[in-house]
């Protein structure tokens, strides 16, 4: 049984210009000790999925349907009070932009201690300090730096501190929203190595949210591709990269130049993602898709299991798969 399962999740933002259906029937499954990559362009709803799964959506947004099952419990029906016992202990979030996630006027160590003590009311402060030192060591920061302020940390160290904080209460699931954007390549590769190491050491289950398909190739075991509020393809990492079946996945893969191998001509889709206040009928990629047919416009394709464990929402997945093979 999956550790976390999201079924038909829907969430809306209510704005003065109308209702934005940011996520519309998202299905995801995370197995224990696996790392799931959630990939898409900006505005596709990937951060909304992360926030919804913590029930941390902003006040103008609401979950309008579906279930989030974590360890047998449905988070959607939980009250805020009940969620307080679940957040950090069962599921925790590494926010995007570590630079801004730490409070600049408190010492890094104190911020971690505070997080631990908020969630373990009966813990003695000395114990929490001890735990903080352990955590910092775990993520590769010298524990003596706990007395430093965030501005004394480099970008990579801040990111490590934020990860340490998220691990403070031994969560089952760690959601990392763009864990390495704004970091330099060498720092990025070290953070990725740290994430891999933590996974091996703690058996952590991860959801990595990113726009960068080359990053997920390095740390994820499964990948879900998101477009305009929907999951369009889901499968094992190796399969997504070797035989993508959705035209959008195909396009994304073609848009990342590689530092290895021959230089391929990059390809892209015409046009822009749709306005989610008023999404197109049928398949949402239809206006941009090179494989589009009449039926794509009329009825949305089901999210079906094309081959074992590899799901796709496209009528023409066979054709897409063929063309990718010819291409590469």
């Amino acid at each position: 049984m999956a550790l976390m399962e999201i079924r038909q999740l829907k969430a809306c933002y209510f704005t003065p210009e109308g209702t934005v259906q940011a996520i519309d029937g998202v299905n995801l499954k995370l197995e224990k000790s696996h790392a799931l990559g959630l990939v898409g362009e900006s505005g596709c709803g990937k951060t909304t999925v992360a926030l919804a799964s913590m029930k941390l959506l902003p006040s103008n947004a609401r979950i309008t349907g579906g279930d989030i099952i974590l360890d047998g419990e449905n988070l959607v029906t939980k009250t805020d009070k009940e969620m307080n016992k679940i957040r950090w202990k069962k599921i925790s979030l590494v926010f995007q932009g570590a630079m801004n996630a730490l409070n600049p006027v408190f010492k890094v160590g104190d911020q971690i201690v505070e997080a631990i003590m908020t969630h373990n009311k009966n813990m003695a402060k000395s114990k929490a300090v001890e735990r903080t030192r352990e955590l910092l060591e775990l993520v590769g920061v010298d524990p003596s730096r706990a007395q430093d302020y965030p501005y004394e940390f480099s970008g990579g160290m801040k990111q490590r501190a934020v990860i340490a904080m998220a691990l403070a209460c031994d969560p089952d699931v760690l959601v990392a929203d763009e864990p390495t954007t704004a970091l330099d390549v060498i720092t990025q590769s070290r953070i990725l190595a740290l994430i891999r190491e933590l996974q091996a050491k703690l058996g952590l289950s991860l959801v990595v949210i990113t726009h960068d398909l080359s990053l997920t190739a390095e740390i994820c075991s499964e990948i879900a591709i998101m477009y305009a509020g929907k999951i369009v393809e889901f499968g094992k990492t190796s399969e997504i990269y070797s035989e993508p079946m959705h035209p959008y996945t195909n396009a994304l893969l073609s848009a990342f130049p590689s530092i290895l191998g021959p230089i391929r001509k990059m390809e892209t889709l015409a046009g822009f993602p749709p306005d989610l206040r008023n999404p197109p009928s049928g398949c949402r990629l239809f206006p941009r898709c090179p494989y589009a047919e009449d039926r794509c416009k009329e009825k949305e394709p089901d999210f079906e299991e094309a081959t074992r464990g590899h799901f796709v929402a496209c009528y023409n997945w066979g054709q897409v798969k063929q063309s990718w093979k010819k291409h590469s």
Binding site: E41, G156, T187, S189, H211, Y241, L260, M266, T268
Partner: protein
């Protein structure tokens, strides 16, 4: 003159004040940097943040006064020109900035934004001529149909469309040199590729020289003809993209390349790790600036500064141990 831009031993230092009674220190943002860019050539400058790539780009355009060295633009020395004398050159040396959300005036529409450079250099004799130039350049950057964009304000445009307007603003002057500072790092993957292809296409058509500043080596490999790798204000390796990316000779270049994630889970990568973090640019290490982090460093590296030496037809490296690496 085939070389559009020649930069020789360019230096840029910034004073760093550390309090009233203490001595002012100097931050060497650009330290004896030399390179040339030919017509229709795209040269990349790559490195981590703080390595001086942006400062190099801006100093080349004289947006910062150089502290030393020479800049030759189409054969004429512009190093010590006064701002008033720069005007005639500036038309031909332009810049595209990283963030299209901040580089366009939010209170001006596309028509106003594109009129400004035309008016500044009196390029049009009449209103209709100006309009024609604007329509033309919008068409060139593939904002179709142009009339739909004329009266739009930046907030009505997507990131990709804004960056195209920023590029159009430069192109309308038919520049000979464009410095593009991370022009696609704020854009989404699919938009990024179409923007780069547009830039490459236009370069081929109009033949401008381009200095492409990026932190993304995979992207530099895709777009540039030659690549220079910068570390603490210096170029540590420079050459054709094949030389630098496929046969890196400097340990720092190797470390950078092995850190780039590859969009292919089955690819085998060479692991090459370096120690520590970037040192402070105010108090740079003696000798080779990379020696505290370099696994090959010895006493000679600590004492002796490394000069760029030629090791192949178009491949220069500042490391005397390049044969061992």
């Amino acid at each position: 003159m085939e070389e559009t831009l020649v930069v020789q031993d360019l230096e840029k230092r910034f004073p760093v004040s550390r309090g009233f009674f203490r001595k002012t220190l100097w931050l060497r943002a650009v330290d004896r940097v030399s390179f040339t860019i030919k017509r229709d050539e795209m040269v990349g400058l790559a490195g981590e943040s703080g390595c001086g790539k942006t400062t190099t780009g801006r100093t080349v355009l004289k947006l910062f006064e150089p502290s030393g060295g020479r800049i030759l633009f189409q054969g004429s020395d512009i190093t010590n020109l006064k701002p008033s004398d720069m005007k005639q050159y500036r038309r031909h040396m332009q810049m595209v900035f990283q963030d299209p959300y901040r580089s366009l005036n939010p209170r001006k529409n596309v028509m106003n934004i594109l009129s400004l450079p035309i008016n500044t250099y009196n390029l049009a004799n009449s209103r209709s001529e100006k309009l024609e130039m604007i329509m033309n350049v919008l068409d060139q950057v593939r904002l179709h149909p142009p009339e739909r964009y004329l009266y739009k304000y930046p907030h009505e445009l997507s990131g990709g469309e804004r960056q195209r307007v920023a590029l159009a603003r430069v192109l309308v002057l038919s520049p000979k040199l464009i410095v593009a500072d991370e022009p696609v790092s704020m854009l989404d993957a699919l938009v990024r590729i179409s923007m780069l292809d547009l830039l490459l296409d236009l370069k081929k058509k109009t033949g401008f020289a381009c200095l492409f500043i990026t932190h993304d080596l995979a992207l530099a490999r895709y777009t540039c003809d030659r690549i220079g790798i910068m570390y603490l204000g210096r170029i540590v390796e420079m050459g054709s993209k094949d030389a630098v990316i496929t046969h890196p000779a400097h340990p720092y270049t190797k470390a950078l390349i092995s850190a780039v994630p590859v969009p292919n889970p089955s690819a085998r990568k060479v692991q090459f790790n370096v120690k520590g973090d970037l040192p402070s640019p105010i108090d740079t290490p003696s000798g080779c600036p990379f020696h505290p982090r370099c696994p090959y460093a010895d006493d000679r590296c600590r004492e002796e500064e490394q000069q760029l030496v030629r090791i192949d037809a178009d491949h220069y490296v500042a490391c005397y141990k390049h044969n061992l690496i």
